[in-house]
Symmetry: C2
Subunit: 482 residues, 2 copies
């Protein structure tokens, strides 16, 4: 605990309140991708049963849109509903250095806030960038102790980022920004016991809701401790477990590139827990190269990090939500179809006999006892033993879609289409694509109006294994399943 | 960790959903006292600047009243505002076995919920009793590790109790009650770093708000882990520190008396942190018996428990909120005036030279290295060294107002009057007293309508040291300040 003299709460808040809105081109492009990816995930998620329940449970009416509904609510509850939708199908990006998902926690908050203020997407992108840096700095300070312990960083750290991002839109000064951040610390919850249940996507919504609320309370004069992160009995002490948070990294906020430029966001190819993705990529590549199918496989061993073991807690999932957090289910699905898509997380798919017979062939173990840090994750290893005796192995550091292994333009486009097509009619989709491609000067109210529709509640079945689905995966995987 | 096989989450929820609404007379009387005390604290608190800021920060309008305002909002935000008001002046009761305040976290939630349903106070009292038992059971399971670590049980455990209490009003079945409880676990936050700031009373409001929301989401079908309390990476694991929670006590929920009958609520005589109250009582009694005044005192030593040391973190408070968490300020005030009242927590009072000159004479230390449990607290010792060489000492186990040392009928009445008089006009106060004295059949809407007024924002100065103030204290203390 080198850092007790560094006022991390104030350093971050001061930076967030005062950094000029002058971002480089590549920073803005990443922010735009994050916005597009989150909105696509919201549209795909709005029909999830949990979102229908959340919408039914909101008892406030108001002018702020709820994606998938033709009626609105107040800003905070819009953030709750839309955050849940963005996370409901596990399609939204990971922010690895921050220890959680970024877009689903922060973007619904700033969209709701911006809607209320009648702001443009330019202001949204600025707030998004500021929020991402705060999330990364807090995430790096807390490091792996936080998420290994069992906290869901999407909510715990996401609410802090969402509050600061909303505060940025509200143009809070440094003092009030400090209080917005501090009040968000008083709303930071979310235990990983909820992984595999409805509550997990609701965590993203709660982060977004808390962000709107914390910024709003701070704007109207409510104060909190100006050492909420680093003070005794503060966020670091209570949420980092036995290892105290290292706030040095926070103090360096003015130095060096932004975290989304240096570490990037990891956009997701597969709609399940990102902890499986490096193994899925490896398996797909091995199967394509070595031309084996599911019947050829004796055993698949996956070696992952400690946090991934915590996250993937369902060796024998009973339903789609549990299946999203199951390595055997993910691997068996990849073995069977050559990719993993939204169609694989329906109740029927999860109970499918063929897939379930493959699952006992899959093992998961700790890759190494080496300590991971937020910026240095362990690579994952996938080892396949074939029935003919061959042993194939592949190490993957960076999943497809991540910063060092980004989507191609086509892959990005295919993901957007898969999330939105058949849900939004073409007369909505075309202007939505336009707004997202050229966000300068676009009013948030105009954008959100395109997302007001009556979502059909579905259990995922509507995302059938369409011909298009195969394109979602860069390698078709047809070799796996000849 | 004896208890991993006991499904505490489900045991509690099942009990809360199914226990008959047939409570004994003394249980009902305690519930009525809790309701009355919380409403008095809300009225006194509604004028606190933090409450004005919270009201200004609520952006949803709706039909549910906000105490101290003539306009309403949605149920969740009404709970937020009213919970903050109930806790703003530190007047509301402590639930020692639960490790937090009960009324301010739970009652604003059930009043908001009941208002929306147009329920009567009979249903409110039933929900209150159920919520109190859940709060006590969770608090006892978590024990002192939770609050010693730095969690503010009022919010962390309060939100769980508030959710279950709202679920009781909504008549959730056992399964949905489990999810209400579980979703509340996903909203459990509140670090003690906020003690002495605005955020501390807001914690009570957040607990109440979360309770309304969790119950509402569960009622509309959102689910969470049915092992949210005891599961891996659940509430016990994350919030009890190194000592795992003992869920055995939870499983015994069907046995024995209710916690409010066997351990009781501790109603507060003084408007500051309850951690000072045993020492204040001791000092008042010593001064009355031995007839010394503030000029006679050389030194006051106070010996308290470990949690109290955590709570009382301001040896030199700068403002009224910090002063509420300062043993030297509390003791100096008692030495000077013979009691501690609302008039002592104004900015002017806190800066008063005479009081501040007394403060360096006060010390605070750990009473004993013996381990405290939720049901066995250490007694506090107050030792006074007088300038004439006399050494006086008094050990107090139970503060005035607590279960084993309850208020007289007069003291209770004086507290209510002090909190409400001059704020609510007599034509409101008379029916309010009537409703609280004879709650059977009273509509919550009728009760809350009496509390809709435009609160004058004040810094505490309106609570002048009135002649009546002296009666607030059973011993006038005039001997102290002759």
């Amino acid at each position: 605990m080198l850092s007790s003299h560094i006022p991390a709460t104030q350093v971050l808040a001061h930076w967030a309140a005062t950094v000029p809105n002058q971002w480089g081109e590549s920073t803005l492009r990443t922010a735009e991708h994050s916005l597009e990816d989150t909105i696509a995930a919201m549209v795909a998620g709005a029909g999830d049963p949990v979102c229908a329940s959340v919408r039914a449970g909101l008892r406030a009416t108001g002018p702020v849109p709820v994606v998938g509904s033709s009626t609105g609510t107040c800003a905070a509850f819009s953030a709750l509903a839309n955050g849940t939708a963005a996370h409901a199908r596990e399609l939204d990006e990971m922010f690895l250095v921050a220890g959680g998902h970024f877009g689903c926690a922060v973007i619904p908050a700033i969209l709701a806030q911006a809607h209320e203020m009648d702001a443009t997407l330019d202001a949204v992108l600025d707030a998004l960038i500021v929020g991402s840096e705060v999330m990364a700095r807090v995430g790096m300070a807390m490091d792996r102790a936080h998420v290994e312990k069992g906290w869901h960083g999407t909510q715990t750290i996401g609410v802090i980022a969402a509050a600061v991002a909303c505060g940025r839109l509200l143009e809070l000064d440094a003092a009030r920004m400090t209080h917005a951040l501090s009040l968000a610390v008083s709303m930071a919850a979310g235990p990983k016991v909820q992984f595999g249940t409805d509550a997990k996507p609701v965590h993203a919504g709660l982060a977004a809701q808390g962000g709107v609320l914390a910024a709003s309370l701070a704007a109207s004069g409510v104060t909190g401790s100006d050492k909420a992160l680093e003070g005794p009995h503060g966020f670091g002490a209570l949420y980092a477990g036995d290892s105290a948070a290292d706030w040095q990294s926070v103090a360096a906020v003015n130095d060096g590139p932004l975290a989304i430029d240096s570490h990037g966001l990891s956009f997701k190819l597969y709609p399940n827990c990102a902890s499986t993705h490096r193994c899925l990529d490896a398996l797909q590549a091995l199967a394509t190269e070595h031309r084996f199918g599911m019947e050829d496989v004796e055993r698949v061993e996956t070696l992952v990090g400690r946090v991934n073991l915590v996250n993937l807690k369902y060796p024998e999932p009973r339903d789609p939500r549990e299946a999203m957090f199951s390595m055997p289910y993910a691997v068996a699905t990849m073995l069977r179809y050559g990719t993993v898509t939204l169609a694989d997380f329906t109740p029927k798919a999860v109970q499918d006999d063929v897939t379930r017979r493959l699952m006992p062939r899959v093992e998961m173990r700790l890759a190494s006892t080496r300590v991971e840090t937020a910026t240095q994750l362990l690579p994952h290893t996938t080892a396949v033993t074939l029935k003919d005796g061959r042993h194939l192995e592949r190490v993957v550091h960076h999943a497809k879609g991540s910063f060092l292994n980004p989507f191609s333009a086509l892959e990005r486009q295919v993901k957007f289409e898969q999330c939105t097509k058949g849900i939004l009619p073409e007369e909505r989709l075309a202007p939505l694509r336009d707004n997202l491609a050229r966000p300068q000067g676009v009013k948030v109210r105009q954008l959100l109006a395109l997302l007001q529709f009556e979502a059909q509640i579905d259990d995922g079945t509507r995302f059938g294994r369409l011909p298009g689905a195969i394109e979602f995966s860069p390698c078709s995987g047809r070799a796996i399943n000849p």
